[in-house]
């Protein structure tokens, strides 16, 4: 087991007789390389680490963290968490996770080789990406950013209630943002490639995506307002699915903030829609054998054939709703407490690819990017309105580029208005998978 478990053990040993204590220890080693015009612009190497301490005493919870493993600072953090617990209000459901007999899946997410990759090779990959992107087309005028990044992350959770688990994961990525155009016009596009190890990175794919996505926007115009069938690019679909998944966390349900509270068993989406959270799928970027409270993650069906099946639970939400945790506790690192959430959610793919779906649609708009998801989408009311850019679909094929428009509906309607799910499932660097998705009758606002 990781040395982080030893650190967590030492913290847990400071628990008082009648209190529950959880130590969540995180450490990551990261490298970031940014290149510009054939030179390294920035190179950062760093270790980040820290401990979050949660104490539950007589139903009251307190939390504190510190960004160091220094023994004195850890003792101070435990005291601070204990002091904080005195000010919370008691809750019968409060308490830490307890072992539930589910064994964590054996996932291959850690590639020790990544730690051995020389910095020169990382720099070379970023430079190669920039060269490939600039060479892709004479209309590519520049690169806004071109980055290599990697991370080796480890976490450990130990509690006084019998939890003692650790997990670790590696990941690396190449990402480029391109500029295309001429004196009168600039368009941008991005491309990326992800891997658990550098050997899995595909420079050419990232470069051609970044080039294509900018080039095909050249000459874009604002479309007229109206209602049209919209085809979402996998990147956009993943963001939409992530928002829907966010409404299916049990904490939102308990606190009357979910659109789907009390609707289990109801038809909430078109009948061919199935949505599953499964962090044990090693292909997903959010894959993890254990959750943020140290329980084994597992497959959780959320929507089956359009019918709402259930929610994702942490220990607290499960106790409040009289059920079992689904191993879905998530937290934003050691600086925060856990809540229930999805980390690897996906629609079950259909049997038609993007080209076939475009042909089926005939007349519509392909949305390749959306903006303002945080400002124009309200997951509680369901109002959904985002900035968009993409391409007109005419006669089943891609036609002129479009920009400066919005697409709008409500989350409730969007799920019922789904027309088809593509077969092109792609795992993206977020908590949801993407694929081509067709939505009927969406309001387009433009000129």
């Amino acid at each position: 087991m990781s040395d982080l478990v030893d650190i967590a053990d030492a913290v847990v040993a400071q628990a008082g007789d009648d209190e529950q204590l959880e130590a969540y220890v995180g450490r990551s080693t990261d490298t970031q390389v940014r290149v510009y015009q054939g030179e390294v612009e920035q190179l950062a190497v760093a270790d980040s680490l820290g401990v979050g301490v949660r104490i539950v005493h007589e139903g009251r919870q307190g939390f504190a963290y510190c960004g160091t493993f220094d023994r004195e600072a850890l003792a101070e953090t435990v005291n601070e968490a204990r002091d904080n617990a005195a000010f919370g209000e008691a809750d019968e459901a409060a308490g830490l996770a307890e072992p539930d007999g589910v064994e964590p899946a054996d996932l291959d997410l850690w590639r020790p080789g990544l730690a051995e990759v020389a910095t020169d090779r990382k720099v070379a990959l970023a430079l190669e990406l920039e060269r490939a992107l600039l060479a892709a087309d004479p209309r590519i005028t520049g690169v806004e950013s071109c980055d290599y990044g990697d991370s080796l992350g480890e976490t450990a959770v130990v509690t006084t209630t019998g939890i003692r688990r650790s997990s670790r994961v590696t990941g690396c990525e190449l990402v480029a943002y391109s500029l295309a155009g001429d004196e009168d016009e600039t368009q941008t596009g991005f491309g990326f490639s992800l891997g658990r190890d550098v050997d899995e990175l595909d420079v050419e794919a990232a470069a051609s995506d970044a080039a294509d996505r900018a080039l095909r926007m050249l000459g874009a115009v604002q479309p007229p307002s109206g209602r049209l069938t919209v085809v979402l690019d996998p990147w956009v679909t993943a963001q939409l699915v992530g928002i829907v998944a966010g409404t299916l966390g049990a904490e939102e349900v308990i606190k009357a903030r979910s659109l789907f509270a009390g609707r289990e068993g109801e038809q909430v989406a078109a009948p061919f829609v199935t949505l599953v959270e499964d962090p044990t799928d090693a292909r997903s970027w959010g894959a993890s054998p254990v959750d943020a409270e140290g329980l084994a993650t597992r497959r959780v069906p959320l929507i089956e054939s359009g019918e709402l099946r259930g929610f994702v639970h942490s220990t607290w939400t499960a106790r409040r709703m009289g059920t079992h945790s689904t191993g879905s506790a998530v937290r934003a690192g050691f600086k925060s407490t856990p809540t229930a959430g999805c980390r690897a959610v996906a629609l079950t793919p259909g049997d038609r690819d993007a080209a076939a779906l475009l042909a089926d649609v005939g007349d519509g708009v392909l949305v390749q990017e959306v903006s303002g998801l945080h400002s124009g989408v309200n997951p509680i009311s369901g109002d959904f309105s985002t900035g968009a850019q993409g391409l007109r679909i005419r006669g089943g094929a891609l036609a002129e580029p479009l920009r400066e428009f919005t697409i709008a509906s409500t989350i409730q309607r969007l799920l019922h208005d789904l027309v088809a799910v593509g077969s092109d499932l792609t795992w993206l660097p977020m908590s949801a998978a993407g694929m081509t998705l067709v939505v009927g009758d969406v309001a387009i606002s433009g000129a």
Binding site: G62, N84, E144, Q187, S375, I380, S381, T406, S409
Partner: protein, 463 residues
């Protein structure tokens, strides 16, 4: 925060392999928060982050490393890592003389939040919960959050600079959910200043709670927002994010230099309506984006970016100003010691005009009135930007009428700046915001008087 001789040694180590510039940024940040949700004080939390970021510049390359270990050895290791990252060629030993600068405008904090009893902070939450629920039976849920932070920083660099700052911020946020025949609606209101706990002597949390509750209740009766291009009037205080997105980011010199801004090469040109004078001002005492020195040690400044519609200046950090041989503008900021600084806004605002706010509305036949904006996002290279409306109404026959549901508006920065055809005399600062850029969040402020944009695309569903 650290002994001068230790800093000096660290800088010398950082320069040992030929670095042209080296910098040590030390940060010690304590924060505390308390949250009430679902009628219950859920949790108090506190945190401490302490460490140093070291950067070394060689030619066009910046090497960076950070450490939570502030001992001589920890700093030396980080300095060596940063120097190696900068892949320096040369060598030799350079001396560094440090000159301690006193902050031009040290922050004045009356009551340090760390001296306030936790029970007193919790009491604010209970008062807010009660006040929000008293606004009406339709209020189904209330979340109140108190947060404070004290961030002490020290910046020293190989130019001899040594400067310190002590930044205290206090925040109170209430969000509500109202329930009615049309489903659920949400309301939000926040108060944040670069001050201590004295904030609550001047502002009542009940007022914040009531505003958040009223917003949610109002929206229960809201109609779907219109779809299409309309005149948009933005109310005082609520709309600074429009300028933050429409042109603020595009005036950050790092983006300009890379050709990723529509405002590149436009200095001295008329880029906006003559009614527009836009300022970025880090010296505005107590505002959310205020500080005495930026995260590179430069004093905060008041910078006029657009004057009577003419683009007068960009915003600069150390690297960009060094390259162009000009003074810094005090806009070099970073999220924490774990991040490299870059060009960022502070408090960005549109200077008030002489228009009568009521007249601006009454001369608008059919349009949208936005009382409160949410966040936004911009593509600086194309100029296209969006921003959300969280409290908005239709304008019909020159009068503010029914509330409309939430959504985004979309426009193109350079076009929107030209299309501003009215600016009111009722300037007000807006709400505390967090600006995100390249994965880093920093506190920013904004402000506007009532203003009108001739044509903006409103992203609703109603034909």
């Amino acid at each position: 925060m650290l002994d001068e001789s230790v800093i000096q040694r660290t800088l010398v180590t950082a320069l040992r392999t030929g670095g042209e510039f080296a910098e040590v940024f030390v940060e010690d940040k304590r924060s505390s928060a308390a949250m009430l949700d679902d009628g219950r004080v859920e949790e108090l939390s506190s945190g401490r982050d302490r460490g140093a970021g070291i950067r070394v510049v060689v030619g066009e390359t910046t090497g960076f490393a950070h450490t939570a270990d502030l001992t001589d050895e920890g700093l030396r290791a980080a300095a060596e890592a940063a120097a190696a990252a900068a892949r320096s060629g040369g060598g030799g030993v350079r001396e560094v003389e440090l000159t301690r600068q006193s902050a031009v405008r040290p922050n004045r904090v009356a009551v340090l939040p760390e001296t306030v009893a936790k029970g007193t902070k919790v009491e604010l939450l209970r008062r807010a919960d009660e006040a929000a629920r008293a606004e009406g039976g339709s209020i189904r849920q209330v979340r109140a959050r108190y947060g404070d932070s004290r961030r002490r920083i020290l910046v020293a660099n190989s130019d001899g600079l040594l400067s310190e700052d002590d930044q205290v911020r206090t925040l109170f946020v209430v969000s509500t959910v109202a329930f009615g025949d049309t489903g659920m609606q949400t309301g939000y209101e926040s108060l944040g200043r670069t001050v201590g706990f004295e904030l609550f002597d001047r502002y009542q949390v009940e007022d914040i709670a009531r505003t958040a509750a009223r917003r949610a209740i109002t929206k229960l009766a809201a109609r779907p927002a219109p779809s299409g291009t309309l005149p948009v009037v933005i109310g005082p205080g609520g709309g600074g994010v429009l300028f933050h997105e429409a042109c603020g980011h595009g005036l950050e010199k790092d983006l300009v230099d890379k050709g990723a801004s529509v405002f590149k090469g436009r200095l001295g040109q008329q880029v906006a309506s003559p009614l527009v004078t836009l300022v970025d001002d880090g010296t505005m005492a107590e505002e959310w984006g205020h500080y005495a020195i930026d995260d590179e040690g430069a004093p905060a400044q008041r910078n006029v970016l657009i004057e009577d519609g003419v683009l007068t200046d960009y915003m600069w950090d150390h690297l960009r100003s060094r390259k162009d041989g000009r003074p810094r503008s005090g806009n070099g900021r970073r999220q924490s010691y774990q991040h490299l600084p870059m060009v960022r806004m502070t408090n960005t605002y549109l200077v008030g005009g002489d228009g009568d706010p009521e007249g601006i509305v009454s001369s608008t036949d059919h349009g949208v009135y936005v009382a409160a904006l949410g966040g936004g996002q911009v593509n600086t290279a194309t100029g296209d930007f969006v921003f959300g409306m969280t409290e908005a109404y239709l304008i019909e026959n020159g009068e503010i009428s029914e509330p409309i549901r939430e959504g985004n508006l979309i426009g193109n920065g350079p076009k929107v700046l030209v299309d501003i055809d009215a600016v009111g005399n009722d300037f007000a600062m807006g709400h505390p915001g967090t600006c995100g850029k390249d994965g880093q969040g920093v506190p920013v402020g904004d402000g506007v008087p009532t203003l009108r944009v001739k044509a903006l695309t409103v992203g609703g569903t109603a034909g």
